[in-house]
Each structure stands twice: as structure tokens, then as C-alpha cells.
Symmetry: none
Subunit: 202 residues, 4 copies
């Protein structure tokens, strides 16, 4: 059936639109994104956009969502047989380095107050760990640490939220301040992990 080929072509063009939009956002900021700029870059005409997306906002939503998925994918599955503190250390580092490779998506997504985005990124509410897989895993690791006597007893979710937002803060500043050297970056990350883990030890 050409149905399949058609659908595939359709997907290709949606992809192209999103990629061009993302390029423009990366280059000139989200405030400068316009339908015309997208279609100029694609060498298509403006009208075509509305075959594939229902509005400009629709495009932005898609980009945000993709960014979110990429960020999620950063939270890699961690091999077991590690001590809880090592688990935290490694998964945080994984997350940070991965986020730094999706810089603009991360900034757009993780610094956004838009409701549609917050629905995916909020973590401070009580019971947040029920909705956020990453937070749940962090809780799980902390619980393990408490069980085996490495970490002090505590409100596990609250602790996870605090660890996560501390790391988030460092990451955000690393994103925002673009000229930090690789070495300083590493020193900051390591020092933060040292403090955070020491802070929850028994």
C-alpha cells in the first residue's frame, strides 16, 4: 500500500519541521521562532505548516515533549551491584552529562513554568515520587541505603527531592553560565556529590 509510504513521508516532513524549528530556537532563542523562518529554512512555503501542525504552539509543544523524552532517556538504567552511594553518584553524573549534551532542550524544558511542561517536570509536591520515575528510583536507592545502614533514617521522598533539586541547581547554573571550564565543572560536580552524600550518611 502507498498508505505506508505516505505516512512515512508525512512523518519525515513533520520531523524536518521540528528540526528546523529547533535549530532556529537554538540559534536565536524561542522568542525569535516564526513560521516563516521555519519554512524558509526548509525551502517550503508557509502554508504547508498547517497541514502538519495545527498551530505554532503545537510545534512548540512537540519540541518540548521531544526534549522531555530525550532528558528522560538520560536517566539511564543503572547496573545493580553498586552500593547506594555509588548508585546516586553515578546516576546523577549520568544525568548531568547527558543533560549537558541536550543543553537547549534541557534549558527550555527544565526552566519552564508553563503548565503543560510542569505537568512533566514538577518534583517538589508531596507524593511526586509516585509520578516521577526518576524520583522514585532515587527514593528506592535511598531506602536501600537506609536498610543496609549506609544512610541515616529520614523522610525518604523529602530527601530525594532535596538531592534532586540541589543537583538541578548546579546543573541549571552550568547551563546558564556557559563559560565554565571542563575542569571546574568536574570539580563542582564532584564536590556537590561529596557534600550531598556525606549529608545523608548515617
Amino acid at each position: 500500500m502507498s498508505n505506508t509510504r505516505q505516512r512515512q513521508r508525512n512523518e519525515e516532513i513533520k520531523r524536518k519541521i521540528l528540526d528546523c524549528a529547533r535549530e532556529i530556537i537554538d540559534e536565536d532563542g524561542v522568542g525569535s521562532l516564526s513560521i516563516r523562518k521555519i519554512t524558509n529554512r526548509m525551502e517550503y512555503s508557509p502554508g504547508i505548516i498547517y497541514h502538519y501542525f495545527k498551530s505554532k504552539q503545537d510545534i512548540l509543544d512537540c519540541i518540548m515533549l521531544e526534549g522531555y523524552e530525550r532528558i528522560l532517556s538520560a536517566i539511564a538504567p543503572i547496573t545493580d551491584d553498586l552500593s547506594p552511594d555509588e548508585m546516586i553518584r553515578i546516576s546523577f553524573k549520568n544525568y548531568i552529562f547527558s543533560a549537558l549534551t541536550w543543553r537547549s532542550e534541557w534549558k527550555a524544558f527544565m526552566l519552564s513554568s508553563a503548565d503543560t511542561i510542569l505537568a512533566h517536570t514538577s518534583i517538589l509536591e508531596e507524593k511526586s515520587s509516585e509520578k516521577r520515575r526518576a524520583l522514585a528510583e532515587l527514593c528506592h536507592t535511598i531506602e536501600n541505603g537506609i536498610e543496609i545502614g549506609t544512610f541515616a533514617t529520614c523522610d525518604v521522598e523529602l530527601t530525594a527531592q532535596v538531592l534532586w533539586s540541589a543537583m538541578y541547581g548546579l546543573l541549571a547554573r552550568l547551563m546558564i553560565e556557559e563559560n565554565i571550564t571542563q575542569m571546574q565543572q568536574n570539580k563542582l560536580i564532584d564536590r556537590q556529590l561529596d557534600i550531598l552524600i556525606k549529608g545523608i550518611l548515617r
Copy 2:
């Protein structure tokens, strides 16, 4: 002299413009601010803005600057005779609560990547404490703590940067996620301070 009254009136209107602009930013985001919206809200005509400010950017700069000053003023001079850990605890809390009362300014200012703003807000570079008074005071407190044997020896500036960015992360999330209850907020702040301080103890 009416000179005085006139100048006063001038100041009043500048203030009114800035306040309206800030309201709009609070409500719809900075990207949605426009001269027309400001003057509609004031029930003035658009052109008049340019009597008081030389450009839209000028208005934004003023708002940013005021926000910055308000945030700085939050870092209140702390009464002495406190132990270093109490000092950290109290000054961080001061800062957080003050920032939360200037919400939109803080967000606009502290989440900005604009160079002109970063010139005032960056803290991760090496030697940043030489440029940032708040960071310098934090360093000073940590040093004190090390001297009297409360805190473990460490790279003081690096530690200050880490503490600051951890608190920044929690604060940023509190700003971004607007619906956190007062109690949850307090629990998060206290828990974070507990962890951070425990993390640097000897």
C-alpha cells in the same frame, strides 16, 4: 518650588510604568511584554513611554536592576555571635524568603542567560567569590567554621559555590512550581539545609 513637585510626578510615572510592566511580565511572561500593553494598562498613549524611557530595553533593564537590588538587599547583614552553621542556615533562609517575595524579579534575573545579567549573577567561575559579595560572605563563614573545627577542611570557594547552587536549585524549583504548600516548602528548605550542613561538617 513646583520643580520639586514636577520631578516627583515624573518619578511617580516612571514607577507606574515599571509597575505595570512588571505586572504584565508576572502575568504573561517577559516575552509578552509590549509598550502598548503597558500604556493600555496605564490608560496612556503609547508614545508617552519614550518620555520616560529611551526604549523598551531600557524598561526591562530597569526592572532587572531593581530586581537585582531587591535580591541583594535580601542578603541582610547578619548579627554576629552565631555559630557558622547557624549563620549559613539563617542567611540562606533569609535569602530564600526574601527571594520568594520578589518572585518575578528573581525568576527574570536569576534564570536569565543574558550576558548583561550574567555579569551580575554568575557564580560558578573560579575566583567568583572575588566579584560576588554574597559568595564572599559565605566563604568567610565556612572559613570560620573550619577554623573553630566545626567544618571539615576543604576548598572553601568550591564548597561555597556548591552550597549556593544547591540552594539555588531548590529555590528555582520553588519559583517554577508555584503550587507547593507552605508546609512542604518549609520541610524542603529545612531538610536541604540539614543535608548541606551535615555534608560539610568535620
Copy 3:
């Protein structure tokens, strides 16, 4: 193909825009031209201009260029077998009458001090005849006249420049003073050519 028809329609509208712009310039002067005035006259909306031209300056450039080309085309290829003095007489008359039919273009173009326009219209520099075909042809005619003994020996380019600017002066005044009768116009032109040609005879 409708491709052709579409392109044709496109050209028509570009033409319409230029014509309206020219009308406005004719009526109210170039300083009074505005995008709005053009589109009002066309009964279109202002934005559409930017489909056809990239800026107001672009429109002005096109008008200027067209004017220039029309003026150039006026310097018709002159049939040979004429005596040098007749050549000068006829080609100057051709130029004058043609310029008078493209009045506004000529004025806009030939009275302009704008660098981009001067690049095409300057004639007083030394070696100008190398860049200006019309001047070069005038030089050639004068040289011929000298060779066959009609004209006195002289600095040929300088003479061409002087003849050209004299005719330019009369033409400019005829353009500027709009109410000169046809008969007076002809008398002035003939008298000027008499004087100029007598002035370079041997």
C-alpha cells in the same frame, strides 16, 4: 502550466506597487512615500508589500534602477553618416526629450547625491568617460570632429564633460520649472546647442 500565469501575476503586482510608489513620489515627493500610502492606493493591506519587496528601500532602489535604465535607453544608437555637430545636436535632443518623458525618474535619479546613485551618474571626475558610455560616445564624436577639422583641438574629455553638464543644467531647470511652454522649451534647447557647438568649432 499555471506556473507561468502565476509568475505573470506576480510581475503584475510588483509593477503595480512600483507604479503606485512612483505616482506618490511624483505627487508628493520622495520624502513623503510610505508603505501605507502605496497599499492604500492599491487597496491592499500594508503587509503584502513584503511579499514582493524586502524593504521600502528595495522599492526605491527598483524605481531608481528603472529610471536609470529608461534614461540610458534614451541615449539611442545614432545613425552614422552625420556630421559631428549634427551628431551632438541630435543625440542631445534625443536625450532631452526622452528624459522629459520620464520626468520624475530623471529628477529622482539625476539630482540625487546618494552614493549608490552617484555610482551610476557621476561624470565630472577625470577619466569619467571610461565608466560612462554616453560620455565616451560624446568624446568619440568630438574627436571625430577634431580629426575632420570641424572642431578645434582641445582636451576632449573635459570638453565632453562641459557640454554634458551644460545640457544637464538646462534639462534640470526644465524639469524643475514645470510650466515652461513647449515653444520656449524648444527655443532654449536650440539656442543652447547653437552656443555650445559654436563654442567648440575650430
Copy 4:
């Protein structure tokens, strides 16, 4: 009486306004002149203009008129006892060099098609010499030349118009093309006068 002093002060300020306006026109072109720019330069406030002039156009008219008077004053009284051809030569040169020192006024005035200005500058109509002193003097000189047998018999006014417009053309081009060397300028002027005078000799 303070009446006198007041009137004098009044004149001073009118003068200041006109001078500032002229400076702006010289620097940025007439299209860029604005009331605000004038008063900024004077360090006065915008409203004041309307105490001294009834409109912006009024200012422009004054500037034009002053320019005209300066140009007129260029047509210096010429000492007698010169041969007619020397008279023409010297008075034209006087006019040209003087005009070149009032460059911007001359351009604004002598290249203008505005009716109010044309009322002072038109010269091509029949009987123009009755209204234009400069043209009348030129006619007079030509008549003298005819009487003493230097110049050929001719329609005197027509000849004067042609001479004048020829010189006008060279002068206009010299004004418009700003980068002509002094030497080339002199050569052009001398050559033109040679041709024109030879063109009217008996």
C-alpha cells in the same frame, strides 16, 4: 525700554533655532529634521519652538529664504571698466565660488521644485529677466557686448537663460558630485566659460 532688549533676545533665539535646524539638515538631510532634534541641540524644550515659529514648515521656509538671500548676495557688484566677456567670466566665477561656500543652502534652494522656492529661482520663462536681477544684469552685459561688436546679435534674454543654465548645470554637478579635486574643478569651470563665451562671440 526693555521692549528693545526683548525683541533682540527674541531674534537671538529665532536665530539659534534656524542655525540648529540648518546644522541638522547639513548633517542628516532635510528628511531627518525634527522639532525634537532642534530643541535637543539647543537644550530647550520642544514646545518653545511654537513661540517663535508657527510650524515646522515655517522654519523650513525661513531657512530656504535665508539661503536664497545668501546666494543672491553672492552675485557681487562687479566693478565696471571690464570688457563684456570678462564681465561674464568674472561674475560667473564669483557666483560659483560663492555658491560652493554655501553648499547646502544652494543645493536645498536651487534644486528645489517647491512652488514657494521656485517663485524666487525660476529663470526659464519668457520675461524672466524682468523678475531676476541676476539675469537682468547678464542680459545687460550681453547687450553691451553686442553693441560694441564683441558678441553676435541674438535674442538676448534667451542667450542669458542658456548661459545661466549651462553654468547652473556644471555647478549642480559640482555640488552633487562631492569628490571633484580643486584642480579638475577649475579646469571644468574655465573650459565651460571658454566654450560659452566663444559660443556667443560675433
